[in-house]
Symmetry: C2
Subunit: 305 residues, 2 copies
């Protein structure tokens, strides 16, 4: 039995992973926003470090109400748009649909569950450098691993099937414990997203200055500390791994930096405020992270007037 | 007996206080740098909230070796230039000269004492909004109090005389305990200097955003905590006083913001690194302040290449 996939938010992340599944022969229904007309006519173009390809004809929609019910729905919106899910999701849902939130941050699944108490929810962690570089055009620069973990999805078979479909599509993927996985992702996302915005710079410049290199390491350790207080067991050496990985990366502007450059709303709630609240519940004050959050809120407020 | 005054660094601070003493009839010898030729010809112009005035002829020098020995020398250089004092000061010094460092930060007197082990050193704390707005032209926007405290000056009579000369010159002044006074000054200087640079803004904008308003208050409390660990007894309500005072202030760019705007070296060593070291000696980690220090070092390094 093959799964029917839906993608809500077909940009750098949704377009890439959905595109890879579609290329591999899966049935994938894509919800587009501004790119709809272009993709309907010209299809989807993916330039990837692993080889460029085109999908001349994709199952593209511009309204979720036109989409079929799907077995698995990937939500790849900016989390600043998650309030739209209450309206966007219902047409795609049947009794057993699993919704997988491939987004960064903490608290996403809990918020969605409040609106859909019986929904099967999972989370996805994308380790990827990928950007939307034009209409229907995605550029995949580096990495690509996608880890998936259940939040409230009790049917492990369907997650195993998703897992195997991704492997079939040449995507490295693992089934993970979601709570820890979300914190581990934040170890990288928290320092680099915010610091590239506040200092208006790129990852490589932060790593080659001894002051910001040290600060980023300290911030990573703060996130690890918060996670471990919450019951995870992330080794401090994970910060060193993340530092080494970033040193080897192509100079990179994280997604929040791109949002800042385009004067879009920043994903501060789920990447900063919710993890800070979660840490506080466990009696831990992430001071570096809180300072960064406040600086980001100031910066955003200056242009979102 | 009247004192012979010298001013090293006759800018926004030195030009103003020295100018006020000169207007009041004191003998004040000014060392100028780039403004020398202009001042020699046209004198010094001070536009002050308390009334504008001109000093058509001032005792101006462009080399300290041309200056007479003075009883009191005010050092009003940017602290980034304090390494020059080893050469600049000796011509002005007699056996009993008192050197008063009217500069922001911590550790200034200790560093100078290393180079001049027998020198009588005091510190000055200027509570003033004042800018150099042109050649030989100083604009005094607000406040003006100058507090003075001994570092290694055992002759209290001379400090009393300076004190009384300033009062004569319509400058509000107090003799204070220097160690505490330097920390108290940092309660304002640490958050506002750095935050206006990192967020490229002015004091009023930081105060009207709830996030940065809170962060600045937290940073002030961190400085107070560090001071108290070092033996001071500054009340936490002093932070509220500083917040209220700043709310009432004209929108202001602190001196570090002006240095940043002109791509000059920033006074990070004495305003950030030395207080951080002093706090660490007492077992206290000023996390917000350390983060700000590192962000400032990154920003400075990007333009001082």
């Amino acid at each position: 039995m093959s799964l029917k996939y839906g993608v809500i938010g077909s940009g750098a992340i949704g377009g890439y992973y959905g595109g890879m599944l579609a290329r591999s022969g899966e049935e994938v229904h894509f919800l587009f926003h501004s790119d709809y007309d272009y993709v309907k006519k010209h299809g989807l173009k993916i330039d990837s470090v692993n080889g460029n390809f085109k999908l001349p004809s994709v199952l593209a929609y511009n309204k979720s109400s036109d989409m079929p019910k799907c077995d698995v729905v990937f939500v790849c919106l900016k989390s600043t748009n998650n309030k739209l899910l209450k309206e966007l999701l219902p047409p795609l849902l049947h009794q057993d649909t699993v919704v997988i939130l491939i987004q960064n941050g903490f608290g996403l699944e809990a918020d969605l569950q409040k609106d859909f108490p019986n929904l099967n929810i999972a989370g996805g962690l994308a380790f990827i450098c990928s950007n939307k570089t034009g209409d229907g055009h995605i550029t995949h620069l580096d990495y690509g691993k996608l880890n998936i973990g259940s939040y409230s999805c009790t049917d492990t078979n369907i997650l195993e099937k998703v897992h195997s479909d991704f492997r079939q599509a040449d995507i490295e993927t693992h089934i993970v414990e979601l709570y820890s996985a979300r914190w581990m992702k934040l170890v990288w996302n928290i320092p680099f997203n915010g610091m590239t915005v506040v200092l208006n710079t790129t990852t490589d410049k932060l790593m080659t200055n001894i002051n910001t290199d040290l600060l980023i390491n300290q911030m990573m350790l703060e996130v690890i500390q918060a996670a471990n207080r919450a019951g995870c067991s992330i080794s401090e050496s994970y910060a060193d791994e993340m530092m080494d990985m970033t040193r080897k990366m192509t100079p990179y502007s994280p997604s929040m930096k791109l949002d800042f450059d385009s004067h879009r709303q920043l994903e501060i709630d789920y990447i900063y405020s919710r993890p800070i609240e979660e840490a506080a519940k466990n009696g831990y004050d992430m001071k570096y992270v809180s300072m960064l959050e406040k600086q980001l809120r100031f910066i955003e407020a200056q242009y979102l007037k």
